[in-house]
C-alpha cells in the first residue's frame, strides 16, 4: 500500500468499498419474511404491476435499506471528522452533544404531542433536526468564543458538559410523559430504520448533501490539523475556517441522520477505526471509505435486526451496540 501513490490507493479504496456498499444495497432487500429473487426483480419481461418480487424490493424494502445507507454513511463520516477535529480517536457524533440535542427535540415533540408538518415531514423528525441545530448553535458559540491557542480539549469538555445537561433535560421530559408517551420515547431512543416511504429519505437528502459539500473540502486539511493546528497553519491550512466547516458539516449530517433513524450508537466510532486499520490514517482515503463502509455496515446490522428474531424486528440501535461494543473493546485492548 505504502509504495503506491495516493492516486492509486484512492482508486482501489473507492472500488473495493464502493463494491461492498453497492452489493449491500442490492442484496439486503432480498432477505426478509417473504423470500424474493434478484433475477425476478430485474426481469424486464414481467410488467411492474404484476411483478410481486419487484414491488416488495422497491416499495417494502429498498427505502429502509437506503435509509440505512444514508444514516450509516453520515454517522461514519461525522465520526471521522469529529475525531480529527478534536484530535481524539475516541470522539464520536455524540461527543459534542448534537445527538443529545436531537433526542431532546424528539422527546419534546412526542411528549407534548406536537402535531404539525412542513415539506412533507411530520413533527418528530422536524423537532429532532431543530434540537440538533440548537445543540450545534451552542457548540459553535463555544468554538467561536474560545480564544486563540485554546486546545481542542476545551471544545471536548464543553461538548461533554452539554451532553450531560441535555441528558438531564431529556430525563425531565420523560418524567413528565404519560405511559404511552414514555413507551414511544423509549422506542424512539432505541433507534429504528423503519421508514415507510421514500419521502423522509428525500427530505433528509437536503441537509446531507449540504454537509457532503462541506466534507468534500476537508480531507487534506484534516490530515494536517490532526497532527497539530499550529503546524497546519504554518503549512498554509486556513485553520479556523476548516475547523468551522468541519464542525458545522458534521453536526448537520449527524442531525439529519438522527432525525431519520433516532440515535444509532457506535457507527461513528467503530467504522472509522475499522477503516483506518485497512487504509491507513490519510483522511482522503478514510472519509470516502468510511462513508461507503458505514453504509454497508448499517445495512448489515439492520438486516440482522429485522431477520434474527423474525417476525419480531429488533431496533437497529440495539444491534449496532451489541455488535459494536465488543468490536470496540477488542480494538481498544488490541492497542493497549
Amino acid at each position: 500500500m505504502l509504495r503506491r501513490s495516493i492516486r492509486a490507493r484512492l482508486g482501489w479504496t473507492l472500488i473495493a468499498f464502493g463494491a461492498l456498499a453497492g452489493a449491500a444495497c442490492v442484496l439486503a432487500p432480498l432477505a426478509g419474511s417473504t423470500p424474493i429473487r434478484l433475477r425476478a426483480v430485474f426481469n424486464p419481461s414481467i410488467p411492474y404491476a404484476d411483478n410481486i418480487d419487484a414491488q416488495i424490493f422497491f416499495v417494502a424494502r429498498l427505502p429502509r435499506v437506503l435509509a440505512a445507507a444514508l444514516v450509516g454513511a453520515a454517522l461514519a463520516v461525522s465520526g471521522v471528522v469529529f475525531q480529527a477535529l478534536l484530535r481524539n480517536p475516541l470522539a464520536s457524533p455524540d461527543t459534542l452533544g448534537v445527538s443529545a440535542g436531537a433526542s431532546l427535540g424528539a422527546m419534546i415533540a412526542i411528549t407534548f404531542g406536537l402535531d404539525f408538518s412542513l415539506l412533507g415531514l411530520s413533527a418528530v423528525p422536524l423537532a429532532t433536526f431543530a434540537g440538533a441545530a440548537g445543540a450545534l448553535a451552542v457548540v459553535y458559540g463555544l468554538s467561536v468564543a474560545r480564544r486563540r491557542g485554546t486546545s481542542a480539549m476545551v471544545l471536548l469538555l464543553g461538548g461533554v458538559t452539554l451532553q450531560v445537561l441535555l441528558g438531564a433535560a431529556i430525563a425531565c421530559i420523560q418524567f413528565l410523559a404519560d405511559f404511552t408517551q414514555t413507551f414511544r420515547n423509549v422506542r424512539w431512543l432505541m433507534g429504528s430504520l423503519d421508514v415507510a416511504s421514500f419521502a423522509p429519505i428525500a427530505a433528509s437528502l437536503v441537509p446531507m448533501l449540504a454537509a457532503a459539500v462541506g466534507f468534500a473540502t476537508l480531507p487534506h486539511a484534516l490530515n494536517l490539523l490532526s497532527v497539530g493546528a499550529e503546524s497546519a497553519a504554518a503549512r498554509g491550512v486556513a485553520v479556523e475556517r476548516s475547523e468551522r466547516v468541519a464542525l458545522v458539516s458534521a453536526s448537520i449530517a449527524t442531525g439529519a441522520a438522527v432525525s431519520l433513524a433516532g440515535p444509532v450508537s457506535f457507527i461513528g466510532i467503530i467504522v472509522p477505526h475499522l477503516v483506518r486499520l485497512l487504509v491507513g490514517a490519510d483522511h482522503r482515503l478514510v472519509m470516502p471509505a468510511s462513508a461507503l463502509f458505514g453504509a454497508a455496515f448499517l445495512i448489515a446490522c439492520d438486516l440482522l435486526a429485522r431477520t434474527i428474531a423474525a417476525p419480531l424486528e429488533l431496533p437497529v440501535g440495539i444491534v449496532t451496540a451489541i455488535i459494536g461494543g465488543p468490536i470496540f473493546l477488542w480494538l481498544l485492548f488490541r492497542r493497549a
Binding site: L2, I6, A84, H220, V227, E230, A234, R235, G236, D282
Partner: protein
C-alpha cells in the same frame, strides 16, 4: 532575506492592559545564516517564531521576506517561503512517516490535487537528507523522540521553503540525539544553504550552531549580534540571572557556557 521591524504582540484583547509577549522586536536574517533566539521561559521566543511563520498576526510592526511583507501574502504562499518545526509533534492517528513528510507538500498542491510522482520524489529526497529513508514505512507514533524530530525536519524540507524556523529542536532529546540534530541542521545549512532561525535553552547548542544570536527578555531584544561577541558572561547574567563561565573550548571548536551559580 528576512527583516522584522518593531514587532509587537499580546495574547490579551487590545487595550486590556495585558503585557506584550513581544514588544518592539526587530530582527534581520541574512540568507544562509543560522540565527539563535535565546531567552528564559516566557521571554517570547515561541511567539516571535509564530509571527515570523505568519501563524500569528503581529499587533504592530511588519515582517518582510525577500522584499514582500508577509501580511500581504496568502497563507499557502507564506508556507512556500517559510517552514516551521514545532517543539513537539504528536499524531492522534497512525500516519506513516511518508504520510507525515508528504504533508510538507500541502502548500504546493491545489485544493483537490493529490501528490504526484514529483512530490513523492521531493519527499524521498527530504527523507534521505535527514537520514530517515529506512523509517519511511514505519508508523510515526512508534518512533523515538529523536527520530520524530528528524522526520518533522524532513517534512519541513519537503515544504521547500527558503527559511526554516525551529522551536527548541533539541528540547526533548538526550545528549546523543542533541548532537545528531545539531549535525543534521549544520549539514543542511552547509550543503543546502538552508537559512534557519532556532530558539533554544541550550546555550552550548547555540554556540556550536548559530553564527548570530538574539537575546530576548520579557519580549524585548536585550542584545544581538555575532555569537562570539554576544554570548558573554555579562549577557548570560543579564538574561538568566546566572553567573557563568564562558570560554572558547579548543576541542569543541566553539564557545562553551558552564553555569556556575545563581547571580547575587
Amino acid at each position: 532575506m528576512l527583516q522584522a521591524r518593531d514587532l509587537s504582540f499580546s495574547y490579551g484583547r487590545p487595550g486590556d492592559g495585558s503585557p506584550n509577549a513581544i514588544d518592539g522586536v526587530s530582527l534581520d536574517v541574512a540568507r544562509g545564516a543560522i540565527v539563535g533566539l535565546l531567552g528564559p521561559n516566557g521571554s517570547g521566543k515561541t511567539t516571535l517564531l509564530r509571527i515570523l511563520a505568519g501563524v500569528l498576526p503581529a499587533r504592530a510592526g511588519r515582517v518582510v521576506i525577500d522584499g514582500t511583507p508577509i501580511h500581504a501574502l496568502p497563507r499557502r504562499a507564506i508556507a512556500r517561503r517559510v517552514a516551521m518545526v514545532p517543539q513537539e509533534t504528536q499524531s492522534a492517528f497512525d500516519f506513516s512517516v511518508m504520510d507525515i513528510v508528504l504533508m510538507g507538500r500541502y502548500p504546493h498542491l491545489g485544493p483537490f490535487e493529490l501528490e504526484g510522482a514529483r512530490d513523492r520524489q521531493i519527499a524521498r529526497e527530504a527523507l534521505a537528507a535527514t537520514g530517515t529513508t529506512s523509517l519511511a514505512a514505519r508508523a510515526f507514533g512508534s518512533l523515538s523522540g529523536g527520530e520524530k524530530q528528524r522526520v518533522v525536519v524532513a517534512a519541513a524540507l519537503a515544504q521547500q521553503a527558503d527559511l526554516l524556523l525551529l522551536d527548541e529542536p533539541t528540547a526533548a532529546l538526550d545528549l546523543r540525539y542533541q548532537f545528531e540534530i545539531a549535525d543534521l541542521l549544520r549539514g543542511l545549512n552547509a550543503r543546502g544553504g538552508t537559512t534557519m532561525v532556532l530558539s533554544t535553552h541550550d546555550l552550548n547548542l547555540a554556540a556550536a550552531l548559530c553564527g548570530r544570536v538574539v537575546l530576548l527578555r520579557d519580549g524585548r531584544v536585550i542584545a544581538s549580534g555575532a555569537t562570539s561577541d554576544t554570548l558573554t558572561a555579562d549577557n548570560v547574567r543579564g538574561l538568566y540571572g546566572v553567573d557563568a563561565d564562558v570560554r572558547f573550548h579548543p576541542q569543541a571548536g566553539h564557545l562553551t557556557v558552564v553555569p556556575v551559580a545563581r547571580a547575587r
